[in-house]
């Protein structure tokens, strides 16, 4: 027995890598699904967006990059789907340079139209960019949604938007046209004109800054989708009511997908994540058992 524990303590880490690889990959290939329970935080988030009536305007702040895509992209996609099917208009911005491109990627991903484009009044409208089709609903760029792109300046961009959106974002990302030329931007002058902030955040600048500047100073309600690593940091804002709701990590995304009624990538990945968590817990148990059985006599290897 002692020898087994000693061998376990000096186990080559490549075996651990292999186990984690199989735990993550096998459920994806087998397309296994698991039912999840919706937590209070995500319920509160959904309740906040469910209270928005059609025609209201939401600021979607995509503050993340492809590194956090598996966790956060499903939140963006589920949010866009919900907004389009409920005729809620949305304005995309990013305090991270990659954020607005991630939003573009999400719009292309959720578009259900098979054709590349249609011609309306001699104008070619491309699906996925000019028009986004979700079920029987269609959103049009400039009228139902617009992408204003990235602006450097972190939290000061939020502060600047507080007095003038135009001062922070002069043109849109797609055409480089002045933002006041778009139908969706009519009457939208400052941050407090938005009905809700849908923030998807992977760190700084992100949810903490939106709460400190947009919520506390300009009183715009904000819901956050955060990475699992960042979520503990923003929990205090949820407790005080400064955040309307919180989606933490891939599980938060899967819960939103369940509430929105379109189970997609996050739900598909939940089995993999669950398996990986279980194996990490098992590794900790085995590691500790072996350590105490041998009292750490075996030198660590690998």
């Amino acid at each position: 027995m002692q020898k087994i524990f000693e061998k376990l303590l000096s186990l080559d880490r490549r075996y651990i890598f292999l186990v984690i690889f199989l735990a993550v990959a096998v459920p994806i290939f087998l397309k296994l699904k698991i039912d999840i329970r919706v937590t209070d935080e995500v319920n509160a988030f959904y309740k906040a967006i469910a209270e928005l009536s059609s025609g209201t305007r939401v600021l979607v702040a995509c503050d993340y990059d492809p590194g956090s895509e598996p966790e956060l992209q499903p939140m963006t996609e589920a949010g866009f789907r919900y907004f389009i099917t409920n005729k809620i208009r949305f304005i995309i911005i990013g305090l991270w340079p990659q954020g607005p491109m991630q939003a573009n990627k999400a719009l292309v991903a959720i578009n259900e139209a098979r054709d590349e484009y249609i011609v309306v009044n001699d104008e070619k409208l491309y699906f996925g960019t000019d028009l986004v089709v979700v079920g029987s609903d269609t959103a049009r760029y400039g009228i139902d949604f617009v992408n204003l792109g990235f602006q450097a300046g972190n939290e000061l961009v939020i502060q600047r938007m507080g007095s003038s959106v135009r001062a922070a974002f002069q043109t849109d990302l797609r055409f480089g046209k002045p933002i006041e030329d778009f139908d969706i931007m009519r009457g939208l002058n400052k941050l407090s004109d938005f009905d809700f902030i849908y923030n998807i955040s992977a760190g700084y600048p992100g949810t903490v800054e939106w709460v400190q500047f947009a919520v506390d100073r300009f009183h715009v309600p904000c819901g956050s989708g955060s990475t699992a690593v960042q979520a503990p940091q923003v929990y205090p804002y949820l407790d005080t009511g400064q955040l309307s709701g919180l989606m933490g990590g891939m599980k938060g995304a899967a819960e939103l997908e369940k509430l929105v009624g379109f189970k997609d990538k996050a739900t598909m990945s939940m089995v993999s994540q669950t398996a990986a968590h279980i194996f990490v817990v098992l590794f900790i148990v085995i590691g500790n058992l072996a350590y105490f059985a041998t009292r750490g006599r075996v030198a660590k290897k690998g």
């Binding site: 651990i16 590194g67 573009n104 491309y126 450097a152 300046g153 007095s163 205090p236 279980i278």
Partner: protein, 189 residues
């Protein structure tokens, strides 16, 4: 006044991005020229930088460079995104390996941390509900409930303490600078 400072901050931040990019090129070119250790990676950095900048500036077909369908977008979707996601995904393997080899209940504090991590990790998965049912855990004492208590009570208390500590630290540092007690930023003692 506040708006003016905000505008200037944005201008300086935008310039800093260029400064950072040019500095990266300077360091990489220097490293490649002098053939310092790992100079090959400096060449990769330079080529990658030039390819994406040239694709964005000169080969967007008259459209905005970030628009879907441009060469820049193709590089972003097919090269930058997978590489970036891969780097982050590697963490899972190293976390698993580190948890096996280093996460030990050596003392009381480490044991508390270990148990909390256990409960939160399991509580954040649907598996915890199944396990709680299997162990006949009473309602309110299921693993997911305990996980929520840890996150909503203990974690929030700890995070608040950190936030208040940082705020007090910032105030005291600012006062030291304003009163001239702190002069290290000027190069003094």
């Amino acid at each position: 006044m506040s708006n003016m400072f905000s505008d200037w901050f944005s201008i300086i931040a935008a310039c800093a991005i260029w400064l950072g990019a040019l500095n990266l090129m300077k360091i990489s070119l220097n490293k490649a020229y002098k053939k310092e250790r790992d100079w090959f990676y400096a060449i990769v950095t330079i080529i990658s930088f030039l390819v994406i900048v040239i694709a964005g500036f000169f080969f967007s077909g008259g459209r905005r460079f970030q628009e879907p369908g441009t060469n820049f977008d193709w590089l972003y979707i097919n090269i930058y995104s997978p590489l970036s996601a891969t780097m982050f995904a590697l963490l899972a393997f190293y976390v698993a390996s580190a948890s096996y080899r280093a996460f030990r209940a050596r003392n009381a504090q480490a044991t508390v941390l270990l148990v909390a991590a256990f409960l939160v990790m399991l509580g954040r998965t649907p598996f915890s509900d199944w396990l709680s049912g299997l162990l006949f855990m009473p309602e309110g004492w299921q693993i997911s409930n305990i996980s929520n208590i840890i996150m909503n009570v203990f974690n929030v208390a700890g995070q608040r303490a950190i936030m208040i500590g940082i705020a007090l630290g910032l105030i005291s540092t600012a006062l030291r600078v304003i009163l001239g007690i702190e002069r290290t930023y000027l190069g003094g003692d």
